[in-house]
């Protein structure tokens, strides 16, 4: 397995909304090997607090040399990252984890919510490059227009069309991504790839289960190491026992996981 610990230079930092940022980093080691759905562990500072690295999906790569992470400021680590400047260096471990699988012969449908949209851009881009026959159907949800619009822009620039949904109805469908899915004419041979908050992924999994559509999900858990050593990042399995999100995942076949259905 090819993984690296790298001091990578921040070549660009963009503020997409008041609390969503995108950082472009230079590392041909990581960028040339990364696959959609993989993540990196980022050290957010040199001190001992925050202590642990933070996991972020690789949201896209370019020229085999650069990769991007897209994140929302929610706590100390992400707030420190938001204060980084271009030209500074970040210590990165990666690329880590399994990626999404995709089959060009299938109808592909990508469903993302909030920051879970990040890895889907990389996946959509790879599908466009490799599957010339048919572009994927893309359904994205977020709280409001302010958060969703800049994320949709990246997909549009690639020439991909997006079905948007917002919680407040300020952009696209007023409601959930599953409300859009219900209205789409999805073939049973369709392959769904999902990343977003757990309630959203649960809803999409249930939708797919009913329609007998295959569904892969990217799971988020607390992570200390990102490489299978601490055993802290478990997700419960349907057959009993646990899998490790960092090394067995983060992408899993939704059928194999145990979902909390209320």
């Amino acid at each position: 397995m090819s993984q690296f610990q790298e001091k990578t230079e921040i070549t660009r930092i963009e503020r997409l909304t008041p609390d969503v940022f995108r950082i472009t980093l230079e590392s041909s080691e990581i960028a040339s090997r990364a696959r959609p759905g993989q993540f990196v562990m980022v050290r957010t500072g040199d001190g001992k607090d925050p202590l642990l690295r933070r996991p972020f999906s690789i949201s896209q790569t370019s020229s085999g040399k650069y990769f991007q992470i897209l994140f929302k400021v929610i706590g100390r680590g992400t707030s420190m990252l938001a204060h980084c400047r271009e030209g500074e260096y970040l210590s990165i471990l990666g690329p880590l984890g399994s990626g999404f699988t995709f089959d060009c012969k299938a109808d592909n449908c990508l469903v993302g919510g909030g920051m879970g949209i990040a890895p889907l851009l990389f996946l959509g881009k790879s599908m466009l490059r490799n599957c010339t026959l048919k572009p994927p159907t893309i359904v994205l949800g977020a709280r409001n227009k302010e958060e969703l619009a800049p994320l949709i822009k990246d997909f549009k620039e690639l020439g991909l069309s997006v079905y948007p949904a917002t919680d407040d109805g300020s952009l696209g469908t007023h409601g959930l991504v599953t409300d859009i899915l219900k209205g789409l004419d999805l073939a049973p041979t369709c392959k769904m790839s999902v990343c977003g908050p757990t309630p959203m992924m649960t809803a999409v999994h249930l939708f797919c289960k009913k329609k007998e559509i295959s569904c892969q999900v990217s799971m988020e858990t607390a992570m200390a190491c990102g490489m299978g050593a601490c055993l802290g990042c478990i997700v419960p399995l349907a057959k009993g026992g646990y899998a490790h999100a960092c090394s067995d995942g983060p992408v899993f076949d939704a059928k194999e996981l145990l979902w909390q259905v209320r």
Binding site: L52, R53, A222, A224, M227, G228, L231, G232, P236
Partner: protein, 309 residues
């Protein structure tokens, strides 16, 4: 390059000679293979693998970990593949790496410790056993073996009887006087003691009014526990005559030197591996440079060299 420098970093743990005093701590280095992309494993003094029980254990439900100030709390619940799969699957890789391997073992009865030690006896590539006595004794109402001197001694003697390699007993800091336990296991035949295991702690999310980890309480590790670990290593080193292996919040070669000054013969690096997977190898490089720069004849000159006021 530090790797081309020559320095005498050798230390001994019982009959075992280590090329340097830097080991990795159980549960923080997987089965070593996980770190192969980052570390030249053969340059480490030794590796200690994740705790092994007789039968595989699934471990605790999530969430299992949470970050706290300068540290982390974990309640992994001793998830492991069990001794049989460990020997058949995990040892194969370790046998090919030129590094001494300590197998950390755990059980919920004295008999379980004994049976695991017996199964590991004569397995090629195992340089030593580390006995985790911080586990609850199921037969004695769940009180940890490591908190009662008599129980700690019985576990030590049982493992010692079944082992042909050095036996290190890993002490729990969650006791009122750690030197009493250290002396008890020394008398029972331990070849060395390692300390400290995690300090029991707790974290609460006031917003949800819930504990941050599902097990409610967990083990604290990382830089936050270093002063406590140093104090305990210092006290134990004076109480016993077997080697002491220092553990707790060690990240850099400077931290290693501090533990050695307090009396440790060797050290283990734990949580720091998660933040810098190369921490152990970098500590070896730092110690090499230190011995050369200070013109020491050996790193052993540092052990117990604390200058008191």
């Amino acid at each position: 390059m530090a790797s081309s420098l020559k320095a005498d970093l050798r230390v001994s743990i019982g009959s075992l000679k280590l090329k340097n005093p830097v080991m990795t701590a159980s549960g923080t280095f997987g089965y070593a293979k996980e770190f192969e992309p980052y570390v030249n494993l053969h340059r480490l003094g030794a590796v200690v693998v994740k705790g092994i029980s007789l039968e595989p254990r699934a471990g605790n439900p999530p969430p299992r970990i949470v970050e706290t100030s300068c540290g982390m709390l974990n309640a992994i619940g001793l998830e492991n593949v069990g001794v049989e799969r460990f020997v058949k699957e995990k040892m194969v890789f370790l046998q090919d790496v030129n590094v001494p391997v300590f197998v950390n073992i755990l059980g919920d009865s004295i008999d379980e410790y004994r049976v695991i030690a017996k199964r590991l006896k004569d397995v090629p590539g195992i340089a030593g056993i580390e006995v985790n006595i911080s586990c609850p004794n199921v037969k004695k109402g769940g009180v940890a073996f490591g908190t009662i001197p008599e129980m700690a001694a019985l576990v030590t003697a049982a493992v010692k009887e079944e082992s042909s390699v050095p036996v290190v007993v890993k002490l729990s800091p969650n006791v009122s006087d750690i030197t009493v336990i250290a002396r008890a296991v020394e008398d029972a035949g331990a070849d060395a003691v390692s300390l400290i295991n995690t300090l029991i702690g707790m974290a609460i999310d006031h917003k949800s009014r819930r504990p941050c980890i599902a097990n409610v309480i967990g083990g604290l590790s990382g830089p936050a526990i270093k002063p406590v670990a140093l104090r305990m290593v210092y006290q134990v080193a004076q109480a016993v005559s077997i080697p002491v292996i220092g553990i707790g919040g060690i990240e850099t070669y400077e931290d290693v030197l501090e533990f050695m000054l307090a009396g440790a013969t060797a050290v283990q690096i734990g949580t720091a591996n998660f933040i810098n997977p190369r921490a152990s190898e970098e500590a070896v490089e730092g110690l090499t440079r230190y011995v050369v720069d200070e013109k020491l004849s050996s790193i052993r000159d540092v052990i117990g060299g604390l200058i008191l006021p």
